[in-house]
């Protein structure tokens, strides 16, 4: 028992081979072995500044920071370069029409054996491909942009490595990753519907872009019932979402799908009704005609955009904007995929390419909503001031669309999520009645201005 009284020896390591006699004072650089210093020299060189300010110290006057000034310069240069490019490119609707003529003449002259509609079919196919790629590249850009905007709103940096410059290729890398990923799905899934749902979500949004007027003579097709066409097809997307929820055999997915059905169906009403005054005033359902109606200026300088019609325009705009955010399934209306409540909502059980199609669709709807807002309320490709019409219409359309897309990102990273009952209350008790009131308020415009 005497052994217990003595303290157990510490975990003694075997004594080292006799070290060489130490110097009296160890120089401070010996603190780190030379091997480690060499390996990480590239990481440490010039980065660890002994007198570096903490980032919050820069906040009172960020212009003192050289990187901030450089960033502002690069951003201004990018905007200026875009403007310059637009100035020199001019209207691209004109050369495109010439290209179509050339195609037709080429087909008539050189290929007599093909039927006469073949050239037009090729042209339509080309337009469809262009629209598809607009959606795809919009996804690439908007995901990156959202990540950067959200990061900066939260005082972070966001993706910074991939693609050398501020992570521009981050989304491409993510896309490749999603493409190569295993398609993991639950065993109990309804496999037909599970595969069908992403397609059913994506195809309507592709079709919805048909009547969007990207600029003067730049729409894929000038449909007389464009507004109706867009809302009809966009309404089909909800079917895919409900199917995705149903086919996943997962209670969270099902709840997300049902919630999104309730939300879509509800918010489509004020979204459509808020446009009734505009349609009545412009006298057309064609997006091209609606955009064209808003060209021109009051008093020679004030744009005739529907947004600036007193009272009616603003109420319409606010209702349409809110309903659009709800229709795109984004915060503060993202109860369909509420991460904190429903895991992922209707796309909980989706992975790989199927998931990325849902993702792509969400961003395509953001683009569509921005395009519609631009067309209906900001005059499409009309320049905000008369002398600015030296820049082509597609440039103004793109600029306004980007502004609205930024607004969507801005809302997403500012507002918390609605509860489902508040969400529906807000729609049925606030937006819908006010959209009816708005129609009544628009009567004077219709009778005094049109008759």
């Amino acid at each position: 028992m005497a052994e217990l009284a003595t303290p157990p020896p510490p975990p003694t390591p075997a004594p080292a081979p006799a070290p060489k006699p130490p110097a009296n004072v160890m120089p401070p650089e010996k603190a780190v072995p030379a091997g480690i210093r060499k390996v990480f020299a590239k990481h440490t060189e010039g980065t660890l500044l002994p007198n570096r300010l903490w980032p919050t110290d820069v906040w009172p006057n960020p212009w003192k920071s050289a990187s901030y000034r450089r960033g502002a310069l690069v951003l201004s240069a990018l905007i200026l370069a875009g403007t310059g490019a637009a100035f020199f490119l001019r209207e691209i609707g004109v050369p495109l029409a010439a290209l179509r003529e050339t195609l037709h003449r080429f087909a008539e002259a050189n290929l007599p054996q093909v039927p006469s509609w073949a050239a037009e079919a090729v042209w339509i196919l080309a337009k469809a491909l262009v629209v598809l790629h607009i959606i795809l590249f919009n996804g690439l850009f908007l995901v990156w942009w959202e990540r950067k905007i959200s990061a900066h709103m939260q005082s972070r940096l966001g993706p910074i490595f991939t693609g050398k410059w501020h992570g521009v290729l981050q989304t491409a890398a993510d896309g490749i990753k999603l493409l190569l990923k295993e398609d993991a799905a639950p065993k109990e899934k309804d496999s037909w519907l599970h595969s069908l749902a992403p397609a059913l979500v994506f195809v309507p949004v592709l079709i919805c872009f048909t009547p969007v007027p990207w600029g003067r003579d730049l729409e894929a097709a000038n449909l007389d019932a464009g507004v109706l066409y867009i809302f009809a097809w966009a309404g089909l997307s909800v079917l895919g979402i409900v199917l995705a929820g149903w086919a996943s055999a997962n209670k969270y997915s099902l709840l997300g799908g049902l919630r999104s059905a309730a939300q879509f169906v509800s918010y489509e009403l004020p979204r459509s009704f808020s446009l009734v005054p505009l349609i009545a005033i412009a006298g057309s359902l064609s997006l091209t005609k609606i955009a064209g109606y808003q060209e021109g200026y009051w008093f020679g300088f004030f744009p005739k955009w529907f947004l600036f019609y007193p009272v009616v325009g603003q109420i319409s705009f606010v209702i349409f904007l809110i309903a659009s955010v709800a229709e795109t399934n984004r915060t503060p209306f993202d109860i369909a995929e509420a991460e904190s409540e429903l895991v992922g909502g209707f796309h909980t059980e989706y992975s790989g390419m199927k998931f990325s199609i849902f993702f792509l669709t969400e961003y395509a709807y953001v683009l569509l909503a921005s395009c519609l807002l631009t067309t209906f309320f900001m005059g499409g490709g009309a320049a905000p001031l008369p002398f600015l019409s030296v820049l082509p219409s597609w440039f103004w359309f793109l600029g306004k669309t980007l502004f609205f897309m930024f607004c969507f990102l801005w809302f997403r990273w500012t507002f918390p999520r609605f509860k489902i009952d508040r969400l529906l209350d807000f729609n049925w008790k606030f937006l819908l009645p006010w959209s009816f009131v708005n129609i009544v308020l628009a009567l004077p415009y219709i009778y005094l201005w049109k008759l």
């Binding site: 390591p13 006699p21 480690i36 440490t44 002994p50």
Partner: protein
């Protein structure tokens, strides 16, 4: 009726207030840095990984007694007659137990301190035996660890920037 419109007004006003906050933050420089490429140096009193200098240590055991989590162990050198002298033979700190409280540094009687907190916040371990740092005469301040598999002492691995090169050694 007035209350209804007041509610609507307040709702919109608060909405814009929230938007203004995120708008202001959008144009502020980020408070994070591009970590592996740029690193922040912590403030002087930051308690990073412990460093040890076997040359100045007198082996007085005060740090061992001060340590609340019992992570320090040491052994004095001995004369050929078996008498302890004020030099340390080996000294070990188990970072798995250490709670970075600075009590050992405060207890240390030597000047400059023989055991002290560096500014190194990047102490990483790939294996459990790497958590136990061991110092002997002639070892760098970072110490070594005993690789139980190969039965040799090794310098610590990991993506460690030598922030301790600017030590706050008192």
């Amino acid at each position: 009726m007035i209350g209804y419109f007041q509610t609507i007004y307040r709702g919109f006003a608060d909405t814009f207030k929230g938007l203004a906050v995120t708008w202001r933050h959008l144009f502020k420089p980020s408070i994070t840095v591009n970590y592996p490429l740029a690193k922040l140096k912590p403030y002087e009193r930051f308690r990073g990984a412990l460093l040890f200098d076997a040359v100045t240590c007198i082996g007085c055991n005060l740090c061992v007694k001060a340590c609340p989590s019992d992570c320090i162990a040491l052994e004095n050198q001995k004369t050929p007659e078996g008498k302890k002298i004020a030099k340390v033979n080996w000294y070990s700190i188990d970072f798995g137990k250490c709670n970075f409280c600075r009590l050992c540094e405060e207890a240390c009687p030597t000047k400059p301190k023989s055991v002290w907190h560096s500014l190194d916040y990047e102490t990483v371990f790939y294996a459990r035996n790497q958590m136990s740092r061991i110092w002997q005469q002639g070892n760098p301040w970072m110490g070594t660890y005993y690789d139980a598999g190969e039965k040799i002492y090794k310098t610590p691995e990991g993506d460690q920037i030598p922030i301790e090169e600017i030590p706050s050694r008192r």
